[in-house]
């Protein structure tokens, strides 16, 4: 846990952030060029399979983000340190972005291959539930009336909400699904051609870099937001105590 926060702090530095931004840009550009122009089309699906190089990494980053929310929430509940709440909030926001992307890209892929934009398939339904859980998480953060309560409530939801992540991953195994089975994260060797796997791994790296970069930027904003909260809490405490002290003195 401590190492995760330290890594985020190092990445949060201005220079490291710029380097990471450049690496993200290069990685994404390489993914687009190789995914669209270099790697051959799929024998069965044709060109539309190229959506895999953005759809699958987007899902991976969504899972990664919610995993970080889960760990940071546990760390917050254990230590009560506001830094963990900041990590969880930043990661949840990015996770919602990538989870939405996953659903939109899946829909764009499903239309030509399955003949429908959306179907209540177990994988699609559990992913939609996952998105709703974390949209709820972000909404909860907006309605809580004090920073401490906001952090505690959202940490509890951050732990409970993660339960849906393994359910999404296993949904294609547990239930009959229109969605294809796992091709990379599965027991045994990946069932995918070498050039496609290499492109997919490149995309995984590029999207993970994008996550790290966005986390660093979002954490910086989180620190600023906490500073705007701070004057209010610091002002209210002495004012509440002053009458008690004056009565005692009198």
């Amino acid at each position: 846990m401590r190492y995760l926060y330290r890594a985020l702090t190092v990445v949060g530095g201005h220079r490291a952030q710029r380097v990471m931004g450049g690496a993200t840009l290069a990685g994404l550009a390489a993914t687009v060029v190789i995914g669209l122009l270099v790697v051959p089309p799929d024998a069965a699906q044709g060109d539309v399979q190229r959506l895999m190089y953005v759809h699958v990494p987007a899902a991976w980053v969504a899972f990664l983000s919610f995993g970080v929310v889960f760990l940071a929430s546990i760390a917050y509940l254990k230590t009560g340190r506001v830094q963990w709440d900041r990590v969880a909030a930043a990661s949840a926001e990015i996770g919602v972005l990538f989870c939405t992307l996953t659903i939109v890209l899946g829909s764009l892929w499903g239309r030509p291959v399955w003949g429908t934009w959306w179907t209540w398939d177990p994988r699609l339904t559990t992913t939609a539930v996952l998105l709703l859980i974390y949209v709820g998480y972000l909404s909860l953060r907006k309605v809580a009336d004090s920073p401490a309560r906001r952090a505690r409530w959202s940490a509890v939801l951050g732990v409970i909400g993660f339960v849906d992540v393994p359910i999404v991953h296993m949904s294609v195994v547990w239930w009959r699904s229109l969605h294809q089975q796992a091709t990379v994260l599965r027991p045994g060797a990946p069932t995918i051609a070498g050039s496609m796997l290499a492109t997919l791994l490149l995309a995984f790296v590029a999207f993970s870099l994008a996550y790290g970069y966005l986390m660093a930027v979002r954490m910086r904003l989180g620190r600023l937001e906490d500073r705007t909260d701070q004057p209010v809490s610091l002002m209210s405490t002495p004012r509440a105590r002053r009458p008690v002290a004056s009565t005692h003195n009198a």
């Binding site: 987007a58 966005l214 930027v217 904003l221």
Partner: protein
């Protein structure tokens, strides 16, 4: 040929979402920085 439209839309949506979110973060950071400097009375 028809499939290429879905692929192009997918890649365009992905890049637009990433760039859009980064831009939104920049706007929010600028606003928060301005607020902090106003409240604390220094930059």
């Amino acid at each position: 040929m028809h499939d290429v439209g879905y692929v192009a839309a997918g890649y365009a949506v992905t890049m637009a979402a990433l760039v859009g979110y980064r831009w939104r973060l920049a706007v929010r950071t600028r606003r928060a920085r301005r607020y902090v400097s106003t409240v604390s009375g220094r930059r």
